[in-house]
């Protein structure tokens, strides 16, 4: 064993010891809180604050301990992060608020169709391991635009790549900041905007002082917190329901019960397609591909933008497929194309996202980089392997104990959540006898939207419910409430909770985020576990935000300023600019997050398609095809992005625009082949890359790590041009 390998293993063991103590300490503090809550009655608000302040103080401490002025440490954590810790850091970097809070909810809502996300967001790591990570580590610079610039000769390719990286990362970081604000609001009870500012300052202390070094070691701690927080509630629920402590293995029982309950409650139905005679679609949790296409999200997004900014954009006409009046548009339910396209885009996009790719610059060698992808996926796997269990147990419990029950007999936690406004029980029986003008908000919304009208026939100033009757003309009445028969069904006033009556103030249907958040309550666990979940969600959002801020700052300070505008900039200037760009990016993200636009979440989903059609093909062919050249790469990136955006925009606004029923979320599947064809054709039509460039590619494929040799070679390529 060489001296460097020996010092590396000493370093690894020391860090393992520190994080071992940290894990024990964190569990100890959580247990202490639990005891204080149960035996001393510590108020829940206090517990929420303690968890929040303790974790934030911890992240700040790691940031301060890792503060640095060395460029290598600021951009790539000194390239000495052992494979297993880089795996944890990548896990935290990768798993955002969306993975932690919303993944299980998506499965809950979509059933099988949601699994495209599970496979997509893990399968991409196979591509990363086989096709990218070892070669990028060998390349060993600071950013992904660095690679594009060196390989494809010149600043044009580099700047195009840097701008792509900034756009993708900024939308992504904005979504994280929204997540931080919501978690703070829900669990600590501060105002959303204050939550955003508090959370961001936590991020800043860390990434501003210590750059990638601080971010990496904070992410390791954040991973430990988030995985503990994720596994505990569902394990407790599994023990309660099945007597078995591994929910990942025991939720088969839940899947069986769900199918039985869906049968009993008429939720699992096989119906003939309204537009394709003889085609049958089965709905339910297990049957696949039963989602149609619609532009409801686009209609909402445009309306929201209009109210937020006082604009008057025309929202697109609402359109949904299948549409019985327009059978020529077809019925794409029951076909796997949309699922496959979405899964492919998520996989290729995962392998092309800059904040994940740069994590493999931080390990000591090519050898460690291969192993590190394995650890990354293993740590991510622990959460994604568990999410289907969360969804299944939660759905089982809701179908078994909530749906189909009299409103007055619901389990206690639903009443707590209803009184906090987190869920709304939308059965009109609830307003029988309520004074007119004092209806709950969701009923007011229905009145304002003219879905229902209330007429005080007996003049007693109260809403009096009567027997439900069909009054013809598409309308129905139940005593003093009347409205559209599509909404005011018999079930709507019977006082028995239907699945779709479990909803939000504005719409029927549960908010998917509640699945993870409500599990401790369903299992009857103390509030401390809820606070733990909040700390985990916060860790997930902050760690992802941290990694993204570094990408944005380095794209501006390193790629655009140092490499393109002023290559003579001093080391000090570069560090200072890097630090100030982190602050600028954080402030912009906060400003974008404060209006809380629904469009932001949509844009994050689009980022995968965009990365799949730009970074993925360019980096892939850059490594595996020596003949690929600069003009080819630029044409490929622009063409791939163009086609993706074209399909995305048109399908988002109007679902009648579609190929094989593929939604805008899978639009990268059209951009990718265009990008590849353009790279190949334009490269072959233009000059072969220089001999030096081809030698560079040859050298990337040699697995012996040699950072100095590589840097010399890159400089030679740049001057040879």
């Amino acid at each position: 064993m060489s001296a460097s390998a020996q010092s590396q293993s000493v370093f690894r063991n020391r860090m393992a010891r520190y994080y071992g103590y940290f894990t024990i300490g964190f569990i100890g503090v959580s247990l202490l809180m639990l005891l204080l809550e149960v035996f001393a009655g510590l108020p829940t608000q206090v517990i929420g604050w303690i968890f929040l302040l303790l974790t934030m103080a911890l992240y700040a401490t790691i940031g301060i301990l890792s503060r640095t002025k060395a460029l290598d440490e600021y951009y790539v954590a000194g390239r000495n992060v052992p494979a297993v810790f880089n795996g944890m850091a990548t896990g935290a970097d990768w798993m955002s608020a969306a993975s932690f809070i919303s993944m299980a909810g998506t499965l809950w809502l979509l059933g099988y169709d949601g699994l495209a996300y599970i496979m997509g967001w893990t399968g991409g790591y196979v591509l990363l391991a086989l096709l990218f990570a070892p070669y990028l580590r060998k390349f060993g610079q600071y950013t992904i635009p660095d690679f594009v610039g060196a390989r494809f000769g010149g600043n044009t390719a580099r700047v195009v790549a840097a701008i792509c990286a900034i756009i993708v990362s900024l939308t992504y970081v904005t979504a994280q900041v929204v997540g931080v604000g919501l978690i703070m609001q829900r669990f600590v009870g501060v105002d959303y905007t204050i939550g955003v500012i508090l959370g961001l300052s936590g991020v800043l202390v860390c990434s501003f002082l210590g750059g990638m070094k601080a971010v990496t070691w904070t992410q390791v701690a954040q991973y430990i917190i988030l995985i503990i927080a994720y596994l505990i509630p569902v394990t407790a629920l599994s023990i309660q329901l099945t007597g078995f402590p591994l929910p990942q293995l025991s939720y088969g029982q839940a899947l069986q019960r769900i199918q039985v309950l869906e049968q009993e409650q008429g939720l699992s139905r096989t119906t003939e397609s309204p537009v394709v005679p003889g085609k049958f679609i089965t709905s339910g949790y297990i049957p696949p591909f039963n989602e149609g296409l619609s532009n409801a999200a686009a209609v909402d997004a445009v309306r929201q933008i209009n109210t937020q900014f006082g604009w008057s954009l025309t929202p697109p006409a609402a359109q949904a497929i299948p549409d019985a009046k327009k059978p020529e548009l077809g019925d794409w339910r029951g076909t796997p194309w949309n699922f496959l396209a979405l899964m492919a885009c998520l996989m290729l996009g995962t392998a092309g996202l800059p904040h994940i790719l740069i994590r493999f610059y931080t390990v000591p060698s090519v050898r460690e980089s291969r192993l590190s992808v394995g650890w990354s996926l293993f740590f991510i796997f622990l959460l994604y392997f568990t999410a289907p269990a969360y969804a299944a147990f939660s759905r089982w419990q809701i179908l078994e104990n909530v749906v189909g029950k009299q409103i007055s007999e619901l389990p206690g936690w639903t009443k707590t959540w209803a009184s906090n406004g987190l869920i709304v029980i939308r059965d009109l029986k609830a307003v029988d006898g309520v004074e007119i003008g004092k209806e709950p908000g969701w009923v007011k919304n229905l009145i304002n939207a003219k879905t229902i009208t209330i007429e005080d026939a007996n003049g007693n100033g109260k809403i009096d419910l009567g027997p439900w009757e069909d009054i013809g003309d598409g309308k129905a009445r139940a005593g003093e409430i009347s409205g559209a028969a599509t909404f005011l069904t018999k079930a709507r006033v019977d006082g028995i909770l239907q699945l779709n009556e479990l909803g939000r103030a504005t719409a029927d249907g549960i908010d998917g985020d509640l699945v993870v958040l409500s599990t401790p309550d369903i299992a009857g666990l103390p509030f401390t576990i809820g606070a733990l979940i909040a700390a985990g969600g916060l860790a997930a959002a902050l760690s992802t935000a941290d990694g993204l801020l570094v990408v944005i700052a380095s794209a501006i300070a390193h790629d655009i300023y140092f490499r393109t505008i002023n290559p003579k900039a001093s080391l000090n200037t570069r560090i200072m600019l890097g630090k100030s760009m982190i602050v600028v990016a954080a402030v912009i993200a906060a400003l974008l997050a404060i209006p809380r636009l629904a469009l932001i979440a949509q844009m994050v989903a689009w980022a995968f398609s965009m990365a799949a059609a730009t970074f993925f093909p360019v980096v892939l062919l850059g490594i595996f095809w020596k003949r690929a050249n600069g003009p080819g790469a630029i044409a490929g990136m622009i063409g791939g992005l163009g086609v993706t955006l074209f399909y995305m925009f048109n399908n988002y606004m109007n679902p009648a625009f579609n190929v094989l029923g593929i939604s805008h979320l899978g639009s990268g599947i059209f951009g990718l082949p265009v990008a590849i064809i353009l790279i190949v054709v334009v490269s072959l039509l233009t000059k072969e890359p220089s001999k030096e460039t081809q030698e560079l590619v040859e050298n990337l494929r040699n697995p012996i790590t040699d950072d100095e040799g590589m840097t010399k070679m890159i400089d030679k390529v740049a001057t040879a041009k």
Partner: protein, 93 residues
């Protein structure tokens, strides 16, 4: 050091790269076979139920994920062996 390590550099690199590409291709075929291939047949696979799990659903929710993790660790292991075989190991630095 094996005989392969003593080949002329260009020839050695070419053979090393060919072996690497072959390994990558095999692993990508497996990757495709466990994630994409079961999707069109999910309804038929769902008729097979093991420990409560319909097989089609299981492949999407957990089965393919296990294969992904194993594949990556196997690639790291196999490449370390390949590096050593061609005298290109990082360990020898």
């Amino acid at each position: 050091m094996s005989d392969l390590a003593k080949l002329p550099v260009a020839e050695r690199n070419r053979r090393y790269w060919q072996e690497n590409l072959r390994l990558i291709s095999i692993l990508l075929v497996i990757w495709f076979a466990v994630s994409y291939l079961p999707v069109p047949f999910v309804e038929a696979l769902n008729n097979i139920v093991i420990a409560g799990f319909p097989l089609g659903y299981y492949m999407g929710s957990q089965g393919s994920l296990i294969v992904f993790v194993v594949e990556i660790f196997y690639y790291a292991y196999a490449m370390n062996k390949l590096d050593a075989k061609y005298g290109l190991s990082d360990r020898d630095r």
